[in-house]
Symmetry: C2
Subunit: 324 residues, 2 copies
């Protein structure tokens, strides 16, 4: 088995070869630009780890890995248009640098390219790979639509929120593991268990992100970040607080959702106080743990040699235990 | 075998069943809206005809037929954003009716859905269907990019133009025939010949469109249309004229490309005179014939019972001989 770091280096090097150097340049330059900027490459890494878990060679895992990475970057390119985002990974977003038509069309071709990478996988596996891949692609689009809908909705339940993050983010993590496992030699059932593992761990990660936005920096550096609070972002914390708050807390929360644009520090401080009074941090930790336990159960049910699970378990633990 | 009209009715009725009635509505409504508006359904019809040519049942041809129709409509939804088009088939375009984010995201999911329809085809055929489909999807994106590039390019050769219309329009017609033939029982070679047929006929159709814009109405109704001339659209006629014009014709053409916005009728009249002087109409007819003959050759090389070719030949002839 290869270490996580080695797999990452392997992927990065081979990814270079997939930069598209063909005409029309104006179609392919934006793709290379976005891939060049980097990112954590979590999805391809999960794919390669899962492939090796079942005895597959990382060279076999590369094609689904690059497929999920292209797919993920396609979603970033289009989401950045929809969200009118000026920056991505610290650099100008594609639609600002190359224009709206290019960002739409290069994203489209990137999605198609992600399907084309699956053509390099064994023919006998292709129908099932395409099927899982398409289902997750639909899920991700539905998740993005729900996320956009939430912005203008008055009431969003915690349940709806978890469904949204599951569709928008977690299923692709699950799918990365599933495709890697399948090309690595896993049975359909084993691959499905890894999908469950990845999906539930993904929900836990996203909830952890919500938590860290408010509580991470406070603990580690003694400063408050709270970007989500400032932007009234409907995270688990806010939705849970809206669900539980009564009386003066409900009034205060309502006040800060409509006021305080001119005093962001005060807003973060006051909303955090409400969260503390309502034990939102503990509730979030419980929820995170609930999904992480679900993930671990799925892993436990995998009847392979436990030593083969080590790399994935360690990688996931590291991500789960991050402090910022 | 079923008549063209019967196949069209069959497709229309079954397409209704594929209207997506699931959540989130805001993602699927734009898709249903665009499909509802209609269109000529040329691509699914070609797919069904090709399926029956090789003895397949139209029910088998339906899935690739709906895949190509969804794909085509996905391109319309995104192209209309890029071209800032206000109307499509006489109704408001999706991005104007539902907003830019919806038009991007609903287009994306429509592309994925088109892949999902291929899952209904026989498993053994799926890898090859996906492969042809993805290749053509990339081609269409490249063609659209070339088309956009042409708008700001000073010099575009007739050769580049033909390559562009081939990628943007014709290969999808070829692909519709190919996928239909494959599910109908054709060999890979037979399906490839039908693809060649469709691709070349498609180029001929597009050139015919260019010709009719200037010459159709003139012959049939005694009036001039010339929308392409008014918009300086780089069609075969204009590019050929720019290639051939010398001396005063070159000067006149250059003049009308930069002036005359306030006198469109005069502009159409004068540019048409230049076209006439340079025999552009005859040259276009020769070019159309060249590609149509290529198409017919591909059809001739198909060693199936000639009676099985009748429906496709008649359908194509009707399209080729249209006067407006």
């Amino acid at each position: 088995m290869t270490t996580t770091k080695q797999l990452n280096t392997y992927f990065q090097e081979r990814l270079q070869e997939e930069f598209i150097r063909q005409e029309p340049q104006s179609l392919y330059d934006p793709i290379n630009y976005l891939l060049e900027v980097g990112g954590k490459r979590i999805r391809p890494l999960l794919c390669l780890i899962a492939c090796e878990m079942f005895g597959g060679d990382k060279a076999d895992g590369f094609w689904p890995a690059v497929a999920v990475e292209f797919f993920h970057n396609f979603t970033l390119m289009h989401d950045d248009i929809m969200d009118e985002a000026p920056l991505r990974r610290g650099r100008e977003t594609v639609h600002l640098k190359y224009g709206l038509p290019s960002a739409i069309l290069s994203g489209d071709v990137m999605l198609v390219k992600s399907y084309q990478f699956l053509e390099k996988c064994p023919v006998a596996l292709q129908p099932v790979l395409y099927r899982h891949f398409s289902q997750v692609a639909v899920d991700v689009c539905e998740g993005q639509q729900m996320d956009m809908n939430f912005e203008t909705m008055h009431e969003v339940s915690v349940e709806e929120y978890i469904q949204m993050i599951s569709l928008k983010t977690s299923v692709l993590l699950g799918c990365s593991l599933r495709l890697g496992a399948l090309v690595g030699g896993a049975s359909a059932e084993e691959a499905a268990q890894l999908y469950e593992y990845g999906k539930n761990a993904g929900i836990a990660f996203q909830l952890k992100d919500d938590l860290l936005d408010v509580y991470a920096a406070q603990e580690d550096f003694g400063k408050i970040v709270g970007g989500d609070i400032i932007r009234n972002k409907k995270t688990f914390l806010l939705l849970k607080a809206l669900e539980l708050a009564e009386g003066k807390y409900a009034q205060q929360l309502d006040f800060w959702l409509h006021e305080g644009e001119d005093m962001p520090d005060k807003k973060v401080e006051e909303v955090t106080k409400i969260y503390n009074a309502l034990s939102i941090k503990e509730l979030a930790e419980q929820e995170i743990n609930k999904y992480y336990q679900k993930a671990l159960q799925a892993m436990d049910s995998l009847t392979i040699d436990p030593s083969r699970k080590t790399i994935l378990n360690h990688y996931m633990e590291a991500v789960m235990n991050r402090k910022y």
